[in-house]
Subunit: 614 residues, 2 copies
């Protein structure tokens, strides 16, 4: 079928078996691709008994129908597995060029099971698949691995790899792709799943053509939208995601000092995208088929890697390793980002655990005895860097922090869980539910745990619209009623972004749901309308929820920490607001056709064609 | 021996056995009386296996050597048992005239075991002890009980009784004494222990003389100190404990909206002791031998009990049922106080659970479904009153709240434990550790759970001194170093107040440790010096701690909620302060001769003469 090459690779690393499976068009129209198709596979091939780091877990790399086409921002793929960090549904979505490379090499996705007896990497070269020895790569960081694998395969290959963190089964380990123009499958600890399989990297290369159904229409629409996108998303082009940091501080969205502080103006100025552009920025970089180019390359003047030019810190990184820890040194954060990318650990979760450690130290719950004499004080950038090293190598206190804030806090006990800021075990990203009410219900119900991208609902509280589904205007961020419904609809839409494979930032470029449906139809030759399109998103969201329900998830788990629900910051742009989660959640469940305990009702599942999963 | 009549009554309610035991002078000099002697008895007669509401728990009423003498503020006794609220050491200290009455009836204390097959009360009449049927009293409130028991015994008898709450085994039930001039054994849920034994009341009356060793010296010192005390404690005389409320709001000590808010000036003015004096106050009342007379009688103009004159609300009651719940209606709080006294429930814990319920309702963790349609909104005085009725009768949601905030929060789950404000299961009294650093370590280590009277350390951060033990001047409230030591010393001293039986408010009247030692020696004929005196306090504190250690208590339990340790209120008189508990606690353990895990070391116990309890 158009937009897909039609084959999925199935690899058993225990036995070395390599198989190809045909992608069924009926299934593809129902679950589309990316994490939608990934949900179907994961649901069928793992369950509540599956150990996330055991050989039975399934690591799924999946492109979408738009991946590799000219559709703007479509250079993306998804990675899906049961998460070792949360023990439930895990997914990561990523840009770069690896997904396109996989398709050009002849495959729409890879399903990896088992555990290799020794370190290996995969070399997928234009229809040929090899499991290659990776003994010489084990212990290397992701940049070194990228370089060595390219030397051994093809300089034009695209490499996804884990660093030392994934090898060491660090629960917040990422999978990095595209070498120095780094892009991360950051969340859910999927790097540890890859590590648990002794799989160091996957290199892809090929020249297959990706067919599309209505080439002219696709070209026409792309030609029309691409220049508008660049114009509308100029801020993102000029300053990257970090460009929003100053505004986010101003409106009370930026998390500061582990979510306790409402203002940090001077600090925000020091670590902003504008400051980065004035100082260490050397160039932009782009994911495949993107016109915006939010990627930043920075050059470091100091530190162990002075002189190295590499991917600069994103907003999430600056906020998590910076504001959250009170670190206001842009160079230090850039260096920390470099280390996180080399080791392969998620900068969001890493900032979260370091801020947690700083607060635990402040309260005497972590002491010098635990750290070998090191003080862990707020704002200390050397300590931040040192903790990154220790986490990646599970050294000393790093072994505890490598488990993520939830497990670390449970182990420490006392009041520690009260300042471990996560939902369902996933550390909060850098947007505060007290600044945008919908974020509360979004984080609480996100299937992979606290995530701003699974609903992206705050976008619709700050300028973005979804006219096709009832939101011709953006909503007030402190409004309550209606936010449950809005968040559910936004989640359904985000499921579609994550399965057709477009970047959510295209919304800043003015892309509408109608555009997305058109792109999908032009590529696949289908005749989807908006209803079918949105229902597919709803189906995926419910299937992921069903996966979690089977793991024991219900309303009791659909929450965010008391600090966020009950503590006004009394300063800054959202000084007095607290999101009334319970009220929004009840509305959300009603709209979703779930019980008030958060369990999808049978009739809803039948309506969505999910009867086989009841 | 002098100051004591020498006999302790031992009653087994299962069998009806009544025995007298001789009080040994050696034991008395070591454990003094009150909760000190109570600790020895409870340690020996119950253990970690004892069910607090089972027949094996021991309910101990104990006077001290000064009770019934002319020593100012000595009209007090202690009640000790294993607490059903916390599962550990439980004690309540109370004024009034009951302790004096018990001594005059011929006994220094009563140890009650077992469970009566049917409701009974005790009538202790000048050396005669009767277990009388109380079928007709069961279901009556404490004021009705007081009246009826007096009618059946002697109008001059003093009655301690439980109300419906104790009968219903409400875990925050109190034991009330002295009828309409009400005084409460409020904390630790000891009313439920009395209820579990089917014991409705204890009436005491007699004419025994309480001998003292050095009558003239005692008279002389009393004559000298009493007028000074009244002068120095004039504010307490004029406005009662409630007189401090406005100041406490100003300095950030008053808890507001379940410990989240830093200011509430208008509200504080509305419910202050000054306002009470201007409006509903009709007279003062005094405990036995007291010259200060902080008791308030108020007359209610509205509500079910309009016209009734009864004990007015104390500071703790106004703060807990008022500020903590945002209720600013003095009449409503006075009526609520009346109900709490009638039902026999602790106003501090009751305010704590109601504020908790209001916050749980706000967050959607308690819903209208749980309350039979009632909204539980902040500041709603009708709801506050209704919840008091439901708690006392364990009706609907009241059944949950009757368990105290800790158990209620654990049952509700989610983030509820994060805003259940207690230590070791006892609800916080109305002083904020963010306003006085020492309170943090005081609440965290208090043997009965969060208590401002077991250390009373904040007194020494706001004007009071203990020159005899190194504190010739009061300390700065935001200072950190030295506060662990100061709190430990204050706890040792408070153990002495609670065992010789003097009121801690005598400190406001200028009473010194030297005065206390003199009073004790003049009464008993002993030759204690300050070292022996303070060591006795330290011994008692350690013995209570040992009781708790046997129940599983250690450093992990020596804490206060994250809300207090981590959340600045950003307004009011202590806007920015957070008490660094860990640091103070480590100092505290070192000074106490405990391990850093909070376990008393063997050498310390030997030094204190507690080797038999190791």
């Amino acid at each position: 079928m158009n937009g897909y090459v039609g084959k999925i690779l199935r690899i058993d690393l225990t036995t070395g078996d390599i198989k190809e499976e045909q992608l069924d068009e009926k299934v593809a129209r129902k679950y589309i691709g990316g994490s939608g198709l990934g949900a179907k596979i994961l649901f069928e091939e793992t369950d509540e008994e599956t150990a996330p780091l055991g050989p039975d877990n399934v690591l799924i790399f999946m492109t979408g129908p738009l991946t590799g086409t000219i559709v703007p921002t479509s250079g993306r793929h998804a990675v899906v597995a049961k998460s070792p960090l949360t023990g439930i549904w895990g997914e990561g979505d990523v840009g770069g060029h690896w997904g396109i490379g996989l398709k050009k090499a002849g495959y729409d996705g890879i399903i990896i099971k088992g555990k290799s007896p020794k370190p290996v990497y995969l070399w997928i070269n234009d229809g040929n698949v090899e499991i290659r020895d990776a003994a010489h790569l084990w212990g290397k960081d992701t940049f070194e691995t990228d370089k060595l694998v390219k030397e051994e395969t093809n300089e034009k290959a695209v490499v996804s790899a884990i660093g030392q963190a994934g090898e060491n089964l660090v629960k917040i380990a990422s999978i990095m792709t595209d070498g120095l123009d780094a892009r991360a499958v950051g969340r859910s600890g999927l790097g540890a799943v890859m590590g648990s399989k002794n799989l160091k990297a996957i290199a892809v290369y090929g020249n297959r053509k990706i067919e599309v159904a209505q080439k002219d229409k696709l070209k026409q629409l792309t030609k029309k939208l691409a220049p508008e996108m660049l114009k509308k998303a100029k801020g993102m082009h000029d300053y990257g995601t970090a460009g929003g940091l100053i505004t986010m501080e101003y409106v009370g969205d930026l998390p500061i000092r582990n979510w306790t502080q409402g203002k940090w103006e001077e600090g925000a100025n020091e670590i902003s995208g504008q400051k980065m552009a004035e100082t260490i920025l050397t160039r932009n970089y782009y994911c495949g088929s993107c016109v915006i180019g939010c990627g930043r390359t920075v050059k470091l003047d100091s530190g162990d890697y002075a002189g190295v030019e590499q991917a600069g810190p994103e907003y999430e990184t600056l906020a998590s390793l910076g504001a959250l820890c009170l670190v206001d040194d842009l160079n230090a954060i850039a260096l920390a980002n470099e280390w996180c990318n080399r080791y392969g650990i998620d900068t969001i979760s890493t900032g979260g655990v370091i801020a947690f450690a700083m607060e635990a130290y402040e309260h005497g719950l972590i002491t010098k005895e635990d750290t070998g004499g090191m003080e862990i004080n707020w704002g200390d950038s050397d300590v931040m860097l040192e903790l990154i090293h220790r986490i990646a190598h599970r050294k000393g206190i790093g072994d505890l922090l490598a488990e993520g804030v939830k497990k670390a806090a449970d182990k420490i006990g006392g009041i520690a869980p009260e300042f471990a800021i996560h939902s369902k075990g996933l550390e909060f990203p850098a947007h505060d539910p007290r600044a945008y009410n919908s974020i509360a219900v979004g984080y609480a119900t996100s299937n992979r745990g606290a995530c701003h991208l699974q609903a992206f609902s705050h976008g619709f509280e700050k300028g973005l619209t979804m006219p096709e589904v009832g939101y011709p205007e953006s909503r007030d961020r402190f409004e309550v009623d209606g936010k449950g419904v809005m968040t559910a609809k936004a989640q359904n839409l985000m499921c579609m972004f994550d399965s057709i494979k477009m970047c959510k930032f295209s919304l800043f470029g003015g892309i509408t749901i109608t555009d997305m449906v058109n792109f999908l139809n032009y590529v696949t030759g289908w005749d989807m309308d908006i209803d079918e399109f949105m229902q597919a998103g709803e189906r995926m969201f419910n299937l992921k929820r069903l996966y979690n329900v089977r793991c024991g998830i219900s309303r009791k788990d659909d929450t965010i920490p008391g600090r966020i629900l009950t503590h006004k910051r009394k300063e800054g742009g959202a000084a007095e607001n607290l999101p009334p989660l319970g009220r929004m959640l009840s509305e959300y469940y009603d709209y979703r056709g779930w019980t008030q305990e958060g369990i999808p009702k049978k009739e809803k599942l039948i309506k969505l064609g999910l009867e086989e999963y009841i």
